[in-house]
Amino acid sequence: MNFDLTDEQRMLAEMLTSFVADRYGFEQRLAAMGEPGGFSRARWQELAELGVLGLPFDEADGGLGGAGIETMVVMEALGRGLVLEPFLATVILAGGALRIAGSPEQKTARIGAVVAGARIMALAHSEPHGPRHTVERIATRAEPAGAGWHLRGAKTAVIAGATADEFVVSAATDAGVSLFLVDRDLPGTVVTPRRGYDGVALADLSFDGVVLAGDALLGAAGQGSAILTELFEQANAALCAEAVGVMADILAATTDYLKTRTQFGVAIGSFQALQHRAVDMLMQVELARSMAILAALSLDRAPRERALNIAAAKAKIGQAGRFVGQQAVQLHGAIGLTEEYKVGHAFKRLTAIDALFGDADHHLDMIAEAGGLIPLG
């Protein structure tokens, strides 16, 4: 049992911490949000140059062969800066689909460009008016047509969808849910940019009889639900780490504020009611950190243990994030409600993290239905 980072992991953490400190202050983030596509291409290129975009890919595919802990380190650091660039969408989600199911040709054609920062990819799965947390009940359909497919349907809230060069799209087929690689420029593909309340760029997509070649199929026909399940586990483990970064950052901001803001002639941090709220925040941050570690360490476990541990982590972090975000706003008072201060943005990001890939209630139901967690050991 050991919860220390290796020297290499610590160097990665320090590198990203200074990247966020130097390049991702609050004003810089606001500027990035205003760029076309809703994030900074320059920052994305810098992340590529730091080697971050290649971390989870196999060395044979042009990556660095990192594991769950490396992703945790990256996501926590990105969380501290509320980083907008599409690491989750491109590297974890779409990139994860390639890692799990991509053919050698599909990987070769894409991973090098993703690692170099030259190619943005996005996973398009959620549907308007569809079930909220499902990997199976999908209205978008792909029908065989000659050697390829015809794709028809709509997707919503696609992270990085507005700028993605290519989408990984889930669609029902006769064999079950399948995944397809869809270039954004294919005729019949319509991209409508949206903006998430957390500042993250999204898009709604529609596919009106888009013609796909045979090699657009990612993995086997009918394998989509299994791939999506694994992808969402990886995404949730990553989001848990991001949330810990966000929470740690606003706990520090809140503690600083309590020490410097004076009312009634004293620092408000001298009031016990506020001290205890801050301590309650600290406790949730520490519990959340423990669960983010559990999630990262569970990624290479057997499927049932992996699924349950990550469900427990996401449930805990959804609740902890809501609590810590609400308390940070409350303890800041009115300044916590403005767009001109970081804490409000962090609160919104924590809210979004709970909503993504199954919220706390969804995961608690899942654990209850499974009859509980598997003991550690």
């Binding site: 049992m1 050991n2 001290q275 301590v279 309650d280 423990s290 360490l297 427990a312 608690l364 550690l376």
Partner: protein, 401 residues
């Protein structure tokens, strides 16, 4: 990072587990599973069994019966004790006075008290709280005035758990009223048979008479029963309250409880005592408690691993007491909820503990014990520094507020 125990630690766990499975008497095990109140002889009997095995006081110095275990092994031991439904030894003997005498006592005091304390030949009680000194313990007033080679005590202690069983008390008394209130406090050991000591029981809401007031009326205590120096008792008491953190969150106890709750819920569902809606609701609540427990377990393991690596204080350690007690209390709430209205009829008690029919075929003894257990466990967020005092300390020491 990795979350797995070493093969060596796994073998250690197996050694503990197999001993406990063989050594724990069935009646004690059953009382523990059903959360019945234990009597003095229950605790004495088990502590002597453990002492014979060498495991009654593992955290003490090895020369006085301790074990050279790593923090991880101490954690495993505590977890296995809980999972085996084994009673913990008297906390006053094992966790409090033993380590203080071993650290600060004279050689004579060590020889006189430590073996008897480990074997519970002496039953200790703790004389700290007073009517005017609870969270503000340093405000204590019980006075000790040196008269020749004796201290003469006058005053009162309160909330003295199991003083009715106690042979000896370790007490904080005031020997000096000048200076800071933390100074002038002295740590004394006193024989409860000394003339001038009166013990009055205070019935508590769980129906048990384990709490007491203890009055001192010109009680003469030999000066040789003082621990360390006069006026430094506060430092010794702090050592007593803060020296062990591998078991502070009581993870094993909450795990054992959760596993029992799942078992009981399934059993009641089988017998038609719960409808589908109740089952779904209870299972959901158990899932939520288990997630909280898993988060705390990981946090405790982070602290244990840091201690094993020789690390010092860390932020994670600060939360263990508060969150651990909250979880223990949540388990008692869930047990009470499961018991339902049948839990209203509670057993009587005497000094032998709760000895209602231990018919193993029945298996329903937990229902009558659920409410007393729920009531009594409110204490865990109050004693040893209330959770609010803990938060004051965390605000100051960790957050710098």
């Amino acid at each position: 990072m990795n979350i797995d125990f070493t093969d060596e630690d796994r073998a250690f766990r197996e050694e503990i587990r197999s001993f406990l499975a063989a050594a724990l008497p069935a009646d004690l095990r059953r009382k523990m599973i059903e959360r019945r109140h234990l009597g003095k002889e229950d605790i004495v009997r088990w502590q002597r069994t453990m002492n014979a095995r060498g495991w009654a006081v593992p955290a003490w110095p090895v020369e006085w019966g301790g074990q050279p275990w790593t923090p991880t092994q101490r954690y495993i031991f505590q977890e296995e004790m809980a999972l085996a439904h084994a009673p913990e030894g008297s906390p006053f003997n094992v966790n409090m006075i033993g380590p203080v005498i071993a650290r600060f006592g004279t050689e004579e005091q060590k020889h006189r008290f430590l073996p008897a304390t480990a074997n519970i030949d002496i039953w200790w009680c703790q004389g700290f709280s007073e009517p005017g000194a609870g969270s503000d313990l340093a405000a204590l007033k019980t006075s000790a005035v040196l008269d020749g080679d004796h201290y003469v005590l006058n005053g009162q202690k309160i909330w003295t758990t199991q003083a009715q069983h106690a042979d000896w008390m370790f007490a904080l008394v005031r020997t000096d009223n000048t200076g800071r209130k933390q100074q002038g406090i002295t740590f004394l050991l006193l024989d409860m048979a000394t003339p001038g000591i009166t013990v009055r029981p205070i019935p508590s809401i769980d129906g048990i008479r384990d709490l007491n007031e203890v009055f001192f009326d010109d009680v003469r205590v030999p000066a040789g029963n003082r621990i360390g120096e006069e006026g430094r008792g506060w430092d010794y008491a702090k050592h007593l309250l803060g020296h062990e953190r591998s078991g502070i969150a009581r993870i094993g106890l909450s795990k054992e409880r959760l596993s029992q709750l799942r078992h009981l819920e399934a059993d009641m569902a089988d017998k038609g005592m719960l409808d589908d809606r109740e089952c779904a609701r209870l299972r959901r609540k158990l899932a939520e408690a288990e997630v909280e427990l898993r988060a705390l377990e990981l946090t405790q393991l982070r602290v244990v691993a840091a201690d094993a690596a020789g690390g010092g204080a860390n932020d994670a350690a600060s939360i263990l007491k508060v969150k651990g007690t909250e979880l223990q209390q949540r388990m008692t709430e869930l047990t009470l909820e499961l018991a339902g209205p049948a839990g209203l009829a509670v057993p009587g008690h005497d000094d032998h503990g709760d000895d209602r029919d231990l018919d193993p075929a029945d298996g329903q003894g937990w229902i009558a014990a659920a409410a007393p257990y729920y009531f009594t466990m409110r204490k865990v967020s109050i004693f040893g520094g209330s959770n609010e005092i803990q938060k004051n300390i965390i605000a100051k020491t960790v957050l710098g507020l």
